[in-house]
């Protein structure tokens, strides 16, 4: 009976995770039950570890185990370029390309008119403080191409341009492997507008 209680608690906890319904939670719980003890312990420890060790970088607001984070400490990266992203996973996506060699600023969210989320609810003030205190040449806005991301980009453009910093935005258009015939006319229009000489 006791063991069933444990399983029920595990199912309940798992089903609180985003995208996990009760059936999926049950399947995961039974999978965990079948795991060797060492693997189950390793999973449990990794959950505890991320809660205990991961913190927010006091400069760029990315998640990190050491403050400042590795990217902020890296003297080989260009301090004069700051790429602004909404969330740490957006930073990871850009880092995977290996192309950007500047620093980052993670807003930890976006402006959202329909959720009533304004500039004081994300890390905008901290970005402006960084721009005032450092010799930054360029701010690259890499917010998501949806309404909230666009609202954030427009807002950042207004407030950072007034500081005399060059503001650029990542290009929008047809993704690699995509088909022009299936792209909507807004995407194609943006791609034409953002064309460049080759």
């Amino acid at each position: 009976m006791n063991s069933l209680k444990c399983v029920a608690t595990l199912v309940k906890e798992l089903s609180r995770l985003p995208g996990i319904g009760e059936k999926t939670a049950q399947r995961l719980a039974f999978h965990i039950l079948k795991l060797p003890k060492v693997e189950a312990e390793s999973l449990a420890r990794s959950i505890v570890d991320v809660k205990e060790k991961v913190k927010i970088c006091s400069r760029c607001f990315n998640i990190t185990e050491e403050d400042p984070c590795q990217i902020c400490r890296d003297s080989n990266r260009n301090e004069k370029q700051i790429c602004v992203v909404e969330e740490p996973h957006d930073l990871l996506a850009i880092e995977k390309t290996g192309i950007f060699k500047g620093k980052y600023h993670v807003l930890q969210g976006s402006l959202s008119p329909l959720d009533g989320r304004g500039p004081d609810d994300i890390r905008v003030r901290e970005l402006l403080d960084r721009l005032k205190g450092n010799n930054v040449d360029e701010v690259i806005i890499a917010t998501n191409p949806n309404n909230d991301g666009e609202a954030t980009a427009h807002y950042l453009t207004k407030v950072t341009k007034s500081l005399g910093v060059k503001v650029t935005k990542i290009a929008q258009g047809i993704p690699m492997g995509g088909d022009l015939e299936y792209a909507d006319h807004v995407t194609i229009g943006k791609a034409i507008e953002g064309r460049r000489e080759i």
Partner: protein, 253 residues
């Protein structure tokens, strides 16, 4: 399982699970409906910008008897109102318009005139931008289309006509103007002048093409904002999030 096709404006879009989206539409043929677009986050080919708020789309969906959400099978973009997305204040005002419709309109109640009001005003917003007067016209027409037209001709309680502006108050609870005597028995009333009532009556009658030309005087602007916002708040039961947002960015130049 029945398949339907109708024109629709996307009012809201929320990520759900790994790759789905839950959407709210205001449709021409069915009024407000909620649906799920399976795999929407994965398939930019199928949906892309078509599921972003403001987009006017031709919506294809089917219904399953046991589900409260319809299944979105395709969305063909008719107008993205891209000009709205290119400006912070247009995004903010457009968000207010779609949020009012989302919160005020009941599900599955067809109001084709409300659909046209919304698409007309999204067009005006995209082309000219929005001002307080236009928002008031939008609000009072929306209330009218949904059957909440404020009673403005005489006292909504005792039906006596008004002799002087000083006698008139507006009651959100009663849904119209009340005389000073009747107002005493009501909890919340707001001052409103004869001039404001005339302006609002004109806002209800004016040809949609001439709407951008309508200009409120200063009193009418302040009073109509107060009474229409109060009336909408009374029906929704809370403040709209988009209004909080507009307040938060109002000092940006």
């Amino acid at each position: 399982m029945s398949q339907h096709v109708t024109d629709a404006v996307v009012l809201n879009s929320i990520d759900f699970g790994e790759s789905d989206k839950i959407l709210t539409f205001y449709t021409l043929a069915f009024g407000k409906i909620k649906g799920i677009a399976k795999g929407a986050k994965r398939s930019k080919k199928r949906f892309g910008i078509n599921l972003e708020p403001f987009s006017l789309v031709r919506l294809h969906f089917f219904e399953k008897k046991e589900d409260s959400l319809v299944r979105v099978s395709a969305c063909d973009l008719i107008n993205a109102f891209q000009g709205i997305r290119d400006d912070l204040f247009k995004i903010a005002h457009g968000s207010y318009m779609i949020e009012v419709v989302e919160k005020m309109a009941p599900e599955r109640e067809r109001h084709p005139e409300l659909f046209r009001l919304l698409t007309d005003f999204l067009g005006i917003l995209e082309e000219r931008g929005m001002n307080e007067d236009l928002l008031r016209v939008f609000e009072i027409r929306l209330l009218d289309d949904l059957g909440f037209r404020p009673h403005l001709s005489d006292c909504v309680t005792c039906h006596r006509p008004f002799a002087r502006s000083i006698d008139i108050r507006f009651s959100p609870e009663k849904g119209g103007v009340v005389c000073r005597g009747c107002a005493r028995a009501l909890l919340q009333t707001m001052p409103v002048s004869m001039g404001t009532i005339k302006t609002l009556e004109m806002a209800l009658k004016i040809d949609p093409l001439k709407v951008p030309r309508l200009v409120f005087n200063r009193d009418a602007r302040d009073e109509s904002k107060n009474i229409l916002r109060g009336f909408i708040r009374f029906h929704i039961g809370k403040e709209l999030k988009s209004l909080e947002f507009i307040e938060k960015i109002k000092d940006i130049k």
